[in-house]
């Protein structure tokens, strides 16, 4: 069973992303959305998974004026259709608040 982990809170303000990464399994994936997209920006000092794909919700980057900025290595933007595809592809999902 591989899980899609979803984090919406900013890693600069909340510890939700840290809590998520502490329970990471090989094969899992991370989706950063809402304020959490800040974690995907090049130069951000917050943690990311050591292995496994990282996706970033593009509309949230666009809304915040961050879509043109370089992303950290391995972070891939997806739209809401891509979000649905990820949710379908992984066996389950966990939201970290």
């Amino acid at each position: 069973m591989s899980l899609l982990h979803m984090v919406a809170a900013s890693p600069f303000t909340h510890r939700a992303l840290e809590a998520c990464l502490a329970r990471w399994s090989d094969g899992d994936a991370l989706l950063l959305m809402e304020d959490a997209v800040a974690a995907a920006l090049d130069g951000a000092v917050t943690p990311l998974p050591g292995n496994g794909p990282v996706f970033v919700l593009l509309p949230d980057l666009v809304a915040r004026g961050l879509a043109a900025r370089p992303l950290r290595h391995g972070a891939t933007p997806v739209d809401y259709g891509g979000f649905v595809d990820l949710a379908a592809r992984y066996d389950g999902s966990v939201s970290w608040f």
Partner: protein, 119 residues
């Protein structure tokens, strides 16, 4: 694939509701099923028909009602959570229905995937 959505925040304090609405639309666009959305905790505030944002601004309550009317998605709100928060039968927006928590269990069991939107 059969999706279920759980919303646990109100429509005006957090982005959770906007994200849930956008995700719901995309689920249906991708050809998946979305029979029900369940609103729990402060999420029940999404059902308040009296919500009246300024003209031209986002109107999530109406967004949900439209999803129900156009796509047949059932909008279920938890009775206990609703009573506490003053959401009543008489002030329910179109498409919403007050139900017991057992219906949440039912939605989870019937779905292949659950996505929760909260904060």
């Amino acid at each position: 694939m059969r999706f279920a959505i759980l919303v646990t925040e109100g429509p005006h304090g957090h982005q959770a509701t906007d994200s849930a609405l956008a995700f719901a639309g995309a689920v249906l666009e991708r050809g998946h099923q979305l029979p029900q959305v369940f609103f729990y905790g402060d999420g029940v505030l999404n059902a308040n028909r009296l919500s009246a944002p300024p003209a031209g601004e986002r109107h999530p309550v109406r967004g949900w009602s439209r999803l129900a009317a156009e796509q047949g998605v059932e909008l279920l709100i938890c009775a206990n959570a609703a009573l506490k928060r003053g959401v009543r039968e008489a002030t329910l927006a179109p498409g919403f229905r007050i139900v017991g928590l057992g219906q949440l269990a039912g939605m989870l069991v019937a779905a292949d995937r659950l996505i929760t939107f909260g904060a």
